[in-house]
């Protein structure tokens, strides 16, 4: 496959692995967080950790959209489908996220909820046009990558005068999550989570650009290398991070220059700013309540805000006590450190959200890497 195979070349990956092994300094440990689930998936799926020297450890970050979605938010969506009888549209993985009462959107569908998977907001708009007598709600989740399409859908609905379409907005912000991790006592005070640098997001950065990460590099003295989601991208980024650490640099470098610029996609940013504003606070699974970390729909587009339209009240619901998703999302624990990993909690029956998406740290380790724990 053109433009993809080039980034999955095994020979080059092994060469990069050898370069990394030759570059790491003896007696020094390197610990990098890959923020995005896309990177976590690539590392597990291509077995990249087998190509790294043992002194380089990858810590999985919270950048998996469904993993950080708190139970209370999924509950709202389920309520809309089951109690208000709306057609609820959402992206694939979201259907499996566990919610209260043993439900998920998938299970709510089996109980009669009209819940539909869509590939894009355009599909959701079309469903609204095709069903003028029904309320259609798009359950909008994700980081900055999926935010612009939601903004465009709301503006499109507004322009068309589509009266039966609204959005349950759960869009969250990457920089806020990174700050939260860097400010956490485990990283800042106790040093229990050693973090020598970040692999910065791929798709998110195509929208927001590389500029927002400059603050982290400066303020927290952490190198950031923005990298694409292909396995060679990840290997190259690790090499660049090792070099920065060795040379005592803390800069933002851009490995994903084929798609990311310093300013990002200004048109998309404008659309987002027109439609959304910052929420004062938002609950994340794993990170709990993070101030100014998510978006809500502006007053100008209030008619399309499902929270206002259906007068929804958010109620926070604690995670299952045994579930370690919170600690795993902050990099404090690894999936195999969780007592219920692979026993009570499996991809078939996820207790925590990290077991839901193949981008989630637990599901990635369960699906691709758990043989390593047993052999």
């Amino acid at each position: 496959m053109k433009y993809i195979d080039e980034f999955r070349d095994g020979e080059l990956a092994r060469n990069l692995g050898a370069s990394i092994a030759a570059t790491v300094q003896p007696g020094r440990n390197y610990s990098f967080m890959e923020f995005c689930g896309g990177h976590t998936h690539a590392i597990s799926r291509y077995g990249l950790s087998d190509l790294l020297p043992p002194t380089v450890r990858m810590v999985h970050g919270p950048g998996c959209p469904v993993c950080v979605l708190p139970i209370g938010r999924v509950d709202l969506a389920i309520k809309l489908a089951l109690e208000q009888g709306v057609i609820l549209c959402t992206y694939g993985d979201t259907l499996r996220v566990p919610a209260s009462d043993g439900l998920s959107l998938m299970k709510a569908k089996a109980r009669g909820g009209d819940i539909r998977m869509v590939y894009s907001t355009i599909d959701a708009l079309q469903i609204a046009r095709d069903n003028p007598e029904r309320e259609v709600v798009f359950f909008a989740i994700g980081f900055e990558t999926t935010t612009p399409p939601t903004a465009v859908a709301i503006q499109q609905a507004d322009a068309e005068g589509l009266k039966n379409f609204s959005v349950l907005c759960c869009h969250v912000l990457t920089p806020a999550a990174i700050s939260n991790i860097l400010e956490s006592p485990e990283v800042r005070q106790w040093g229990t989570v050693p973090l020598d640098g970040f692999i910065g997001p791929a798709h998110v950065s195509t929208v927001i650009g590389s500029r927002p990460y400059e603050f982290f590099a400066e303020e927290y003295r952490k190198p950031v290398v923005i990298a694409g989601f292909e396995p060679l991208d990840v290997m190259q980024a690790i090499l660049m991070l090792v070099r920065q650490v060795n040379e005592g640099r803390a800069e933002v470098e851009n490995e994903f220059a084929r798609a990311v610029t310093r300013d990002g996609n200004l048109k998309a940013q404008d659309r987002v700013a027109e439609v959304f504003e910052l929420r004062r606070e938002f609950e994340w699974r794993g990170l709990s309540v993070v101030p100014y970390s998510a978006l809500r729909i502006r007053q100008r587009y209030a008619a399309f805000d499902a929270e206002r339209r259906f007068k929804l009240d958010y109620r926070s619901v604690p995670d299952n006590k045994a579930c370690e998703c919170g600690a795993i999302l902050r990099g404090v624990k690894r999936p195999q450190d969780c007592k219920i990993f692979g026993t009570v909690c499996t991809p078939e029956n996820p207790i925590g959200s990290c077991m839901v998406s193949s981008e989630g740290a637990c599901a990635a380790h369960y699906s691709y890497g758990r043989y390593k724990d047993m052999h």
């Binding site: 496959m1 992206y91 989601f229 078939e348 998406s357 981008e359």
Partner: protein, 354 residues
């Protein structure tokens, strides 16, 4: 089944007509549907007996008595018509293949139709014709059948269940529990074609190179493979859940592990691209005209040559080996030289968001 004397009723309107409740009520309309559509296309000496069941000769394999193999498969595909096939030929291929991968020669099929009130007769005719063609090509007649009509909204147009019977020669035993460490794993051709053809039609995606379902009857290919006398342990057609599910099933049944070589697994570039686009993994995507063979390593090359000599096995290749592993993992050496598990599919394959 019966026959209504011509002239008593108008012929079925196969252009604009629709299935209605009378087509399932046991009266003239039902008999007419059977005779003008099902019997007309699928007809053969057994179906023509017109009784509640078909009387069939005792099965033999090359003149010798054999054992019966029986399998059944329900077909509920959406869309009903897709590039490379439709629910009609699929319902024949699916069951013929399930019988054939047991090592048996498929002999007869039974077909049950559940039709939804309002279903266009023109579509039904297309489906039955396609079934008839597939049955003819596979050499396996439909010898008995049944039709029911459900009210509008209680079905999805048409569901077809087919049951197949075949004969298995004494001395030949294939099964999922017979794989042994050291055996080789062969596939008969490129993976994921059927599932991706369906998905791209469902999502209304078109690609420069059309993706067609691989739906096909494999009994001819399997006869050619058996004729080599190679030490075959197990044959399976990797339908739902794809190659990954099939190999995990066999690994569990046989109490072994497996190691695949990612680079050896054949996937057409257009299918790989579509999977990339749709967020799917071709290893988990359904096939309807491919098989997996587990075979004694010493016979692998000979079996591969026989497969490649058959049009449905042209792209056959070895993709991995059976190993001893108490955990029964199916592992894969990635193109990177790293290793990972090829796990069971968890629920449906849902696209990732990031």
């Amino acid at each position: 089944m019966g026959e209504v004397k011509r002239g008593y009723v108008r012929p079925l309107d196969l252009k604009n007509g629709r299935v209605d409740m009378t087509h399932g009520s046991g009266g003239r309309a039902m008999v007419q549907l059977i005779s003008e559509l099902f019997a007309k296309h699928l007809g053969n000496e057994y179906l023509g007996q017109g009784n509640d069941g078909a009387v069939l000769p005792a099965p033999t394999f090359n003149g010798k008595p054999g054992r019966l193999v029986m399998s059944t498969d329900c077909h509920v595909v959406s869309p009903l018509f897709f590039p490379g096939g439709d629910i009609g030929c699929l319902s024949v291929h699916g069951t013929v293949n399930d019988v054939a991968v047991m090592g048996a020669r498929p002999l007869y099929l039974a077909a049950g139709f559940i039709l939804e009130e309002g279903f266009p007769l023109a579509d039904l005719a297309r489906i039955v014709e396609s079934m008839a063609r597939a049955a003819r090509e596979a050499g396996v007649p439909v010898v008995t059948g049944d039709t029911k009509v459900v009210e509008r909204g209680k079905g999805d147009g048409i569901f077809i269940t087919t049951t197949g019977v075949g004969v298995l020669p004494d001395g030949l035993d294939l099964g999922g529990s017979l794989a042994r460490p050291g055996d080789v794993i062969l596939v008969s051709g490129s993976l994921g074609d059927h599932g991706v053809a369906i998905m791209s039609k469902r999502e209304n995606l078109s690609f420069d190179a059309p993706i067609e379902s691989d739906t096909a009857a494999l009994n001819g290919l399997i006869e050619a493979m058996l004729a080599t006398g190679a030490g075959l342990r197990c044959l399976r057609d990797p339908t739902r859940g794809g190659l990954a599910a099939t190999l995990n099933e066999i690994a569990t049944q046989s109490g072994v592990g497996m190691v695949l070589r990612e680079q050896a697994i054949p996937v057409k570039p257009v299918v790989a691209a579509a999977c990339e686009f749709l967020g799917l993994d071709p290893l988990y995507v359904a096939n309807e005209g491919k098989l997996v063979a587990i075979c004694d390593a010493s016979d692998g090359e000979r079996l591969l040559n026989a497969m490649r000599a058959h049009p449905l096995g042209r792209d056959a290749c070895a993709v991995g080996e059976v190993i001893a592993d108490d955990h029964h993992f199916v592992q894969m050496t990635t193109a990177f030289g790293g290793k990972r598990i090829v796990d069971w599919l968890a629920g449906d394959q849902l696209p990732r968001i990031c």
